[in-house]
Symmetry: C2
Subunit: 275 residues, 2 copies
C-alpha cells in the first residue's frame, strides 16, 4: 500500500508520500511515488500516486515524455486545471492500452493520484485524480487530499489543518499524520518524500527525502509519542460514583435505553438436562 | 458502519461500541451493538457486533434464547473458550440458514464479533469471532480487538494501551479512540455503550450509555482536541536552512536518492508547434 497526503493552503502547498510498495506480504520494495515537473519561472507541479505500480509508473512516464493529450502536455497546459486534465487523459491512455488484458487476467485498473502546483498568473491549486481519469479540486473548506492508507492519519488533519494554517505548522501535521500511519500499518514505510511549495515561487528548495535518521522526523516521532502519553495522563479519570462531578461518566443517554443484562433463560435448565 | 473496541487487561475488560447503522447514506439508524449475558456469581459476558444487522441480530437472538450448539450455550459452557465457540457456532447456524438465498441475492455474509468476559475459576478472556465462526483470543502482547471502522482510532491505542494499563486510563483511551473515529467518519455515531469489567467481579456496575450530553465524554472531546493543538504548537518548527540544528529537516535519506526535478523535455517544443 501507500500513504500520500497533500495540502493546498493560503501560503502554498505541502506534499508528502511514503515509498513502500508490496505485491503480497513477502514482496515488499521501495519505490518513489512522487514526481516533480517544472519550468522555471513559469510552472511547478508535483504528482503523487497510489495503486498498481505498473499503471502509475506508465502514467508518469508518458507525462515525462511530453506526450500530447488533446494537444496539451504538462509544459504547455494553460493552467493547472488543464494540466490536471492532462494527467487524467494520461491515465485513460494507459487504461485503453491495458484494459483488455487486465479484464482477461482479472486485474483491477487500480490507481489514484494527487496532483498540484502553480502556473504563473494563477494561485496554487490541488487536484485528486481517480482511476477513471476524472478529478476534483480542493477548496478553502476542504483543503487536503489523501490517497492510499488514509484513515490512520486523518484524525490529526481533521483537528488541526485549516486553509490559513501556516506552512511550517502544516508540515508538522502531515509528518505526524504519516508517523501515526507508519506505526499502525506495515504496508506504509520510510523513506518519505516531502515538498513544501511557497506561493508564487514557481520552484522550491524545500524538497527532502527523509528517513529515521532525519533529525526533525525522528524528533517528531519521539516527542509526539511522549506528549500524547502525557496529555492522556493529564485528562481526569472517569468518575463512576456520582452524576454531579464534572468528570462524571454516569449520566445516561436519553436516546438509547440502558444496556439489558440478559440472565439465564428459564428454558436453559430444561434444555441442558436433555444433553 | 460501526466501530467497536475491546481491551483485555491485567485489571479486567473494557468494551465500547457506537450505535450507528446505515443501509445507504440516506438510511441511517440507531441500533445497539452490545449485548450482555450474565449468571451472577458464575459468569459475565459481553458481545459486540459489526456487519449486516439482519445477521448480527439473529445471532444475538439465538444466543439469548439459549439454543444449544454441540450441546452447549452461553450459560452452560464450561469456560470462556467454549462460550466463544458457542458464538461461532451460532454464526454458522445463521449462515447455514441464509447462505442459499444470500448467494442468489448477491449478498455477502458479512459479520464480525468481539466477545469476552469471565467464567468463575478463569481469568477474563477476550475473543474476536469472524464471519466463518472461527475465532482468535487476545494475549498480553496483543491485548485489544477492534471491528468495523477500526483505522482512525488505532494509532492512539497502539501508542498508549499495554496489558498493564490501568482500567481508568484504558477507558480514557478507548473514548479518545472513538472520538477520533466519530470526527473523521460519519458512519460511526453516538450514543455509545461502554462497559468496564473488573476481574473476578462476575458482574459490573460500570455500564453506561453515553452521548454528547455526558459530562465525561464531552470533556474528553473538548480537552483532547484543545490539548492536541497545544502540543502540536509546542513541537519546534522544521529548520530548512541548516543540517546542524536538532530540528533540521534537511538531512537526506541515503536509502533513496533526491527527488528529480523534471524540466521540459526538448521534444516538447517541436511537438507543440505541430498542434
Amino acid at each position: 500500500m501507500t500513504y500520500c497526503v497533500a495540502l493546498c493552503l493560503h501560503e502554498g502547498l505541502v506534499f508528502l508520500s511514503d515509498s513502500r510498495t508490496n505485491a503480497g506480504i513477502d514482496h515488499v520494495s521501495t519505490f518513489r511515488k512522487m514526481a516533480v515537473f517544472q519550468n522555471k519561472n513559469d510552472r511547478f507541479f508535483a504528482l503523487m500516486s497510489a495503486g498498481n505500480l505498473a499503471i502509475t509508473q506508465s502514467v508518469k512516464e508518458i507525462l515525462l515524455q511530453g506526450e500530447l493529450f488533446n494537444g496539451k502536455n504538462l509544459w504547455t497546459a494553460k493552467n493547472a486545471y488543464e494540466a490536471s486534465a492532462v494527467v487524467g487523459e494520461a491515465v485513460r491512455r494507459i487504461q485503453n492500452r491495458d484494459e483488455k488484458i487486465f479484464l482477461k487476467a482479472g486485474i483491477e485498473f487500480n490507481c489514484s493520484f494527487i496532483f498540484g502546483g502553480q502556473v504563473k498568473g494563477e494561485k496554487p491549486r490541488l487536484f485528486q485524480i481517480y482511476s477513471a481519469g476524472n478529478f476534483i479540486e480542493s477548496t478553502t473548506e476542504t483543503c487536503y487530499f489523501q490517497i492510499g492508507e488514509e484513515k490512520y492519519g486523518k484524525p490529526i488533519l481533521d483537528r488541526v489543518v485549516k486553509f490559513h494554517t501556516p506552512l511550517d505548522l502544516a508540515t508538522k501535521c502531515v509528518l505526524i499524520s504519516m508517523d501515526s500511519t507508519l506505526k499502525s500499518n506495515l504496508s506504509v514505510g520510510l523513506p518519505l518524500d516531502l515538498i513544501v511549495y511557497e506561493t508564487d515561487h514557481l520552484e522550491t528548495k524545500k524538497m527532502v527525502t527523509l528517513d529515521e535518521s532525519n533529525p526533525y522526523f525522528s524528533m517528531i516521532h519521539d516527542v509526539w509519542a511522549e506528549k500524547l502519553r502525557t496529555i492522556i495522563l493529564q485528562i481526569p479519570q472517569p468518575e463512576w460514583n456520582t452524576t454531579q462531578a464534572v468528570n462524571s461518566i454516569r449520566k445516561m443517554s436519553k436516546k438509547l435505553g440502558a444496556i439489558t443484562v440478559n440472565q439465564k433463560p428459564k428454558s436453559v435448565k430444561k434444555l441442558t438436562k436433555k444433553v
